[in-house]
Symmetry: C2
Amino acid sequence: MRSPEDLSVAFRAAGLKVTPQRQLLFRLLHDNSTHPTADSLFTVASELMPGISLRTVYQTLTDLSHMGELQSIEVGTGSLRFDPNVSDHHHAVCDHCGAVQDVYVSRAPELHGLDSFEVSDAHIVYRGLCGLCSASRGADKNNHQTKGTSHASIEGI
Amino acid sequence: MRSPEDLSVAFRAAGLKVTPQRQLLFRLLHDNSTHPTADSLFTVASELMPGISLRTVYQTLTDLSHMGELQSIEVGTGSLRFDPNVSDHHHAVCDHCGAVQDVYVSRAPELHGLDSFEVSDAHIVYRGLCGLCSASRGADKNNHQTKGTSHASIEGI
DNA sequence: GACTTATTAACAATAGTTGCTAATTAGCAT
DNA sequence: ATGCTAATTAGCAACTATTGTTAATAAGTC
């Protein structure tokens, strides 16, 4: 997604107002590679701007998605995750802490055995253990980090 | 997943009873490549056995999944889909009708640019138009089929 | 035939998300 | 600077998919 400045211009051009709430979300999302959920964004935004509503967060995320500035992905962690990286890439999901990382593969895998299916998109989800979790695997069964999107533990996985 | 007969044996061996409801679901799932949802299974099952409860369907699906006879996949159509094909394969989802097809790729794509991520699984979801939908694309904007899992239309896509 | 489990109805509850309303606030074009 | 218009908010309701719960009944299995 583009810079907060560019987004402000784009929003105005689209007839949308550039409010402090939206500007905050622009900043929180820009260059954010943690693949946050709406709720985790809301939590962070609330610290910086008490009173901001979850509804507004959802609204702005929807607006940004419709403008093609955000990609929303569903990787089996229960809620939608938002990705400001709209380039062609894939994702690796840690089964232990739930962290999601961007992944680039050399080329899109070919499709076999399907008659006349017109592929417009291919998305790969890798599952396994991220570096931090595989390092602490076995040694201690606790999480190496207990708060935040990047290394909180996931229940039921 | 194994045949209804084998599953009956396996269920008894696991201390689970082989009830008519379960047998029906065994049959409905065996060699079923439509990737049904719990609800679509319930609909079909209800026609053959009026009175069967959705709860029982979920229960049996859970049992089968725990026994490794079923795979549950989430391909962005809102609800879990169940796949009796537990071999290593991938999926193609039609953006128009929602149909899900099994896909086999020659080899798993390699992972680049991630430090020490231990991959245990890779799942590819292809999106696009299935044969039927790409054939009727443009010509008529209605669905070529209006009921059932395989070619009902999807809202919001 | 006895023991145990499954099924069912009939709910409640959950999580994530969206919709709604009315009142207030505030962006922005002129 | 002002007025038009849109955004935000609180406070809900609602929705979908799923799981949990309970008690009564039915029925597999040894």
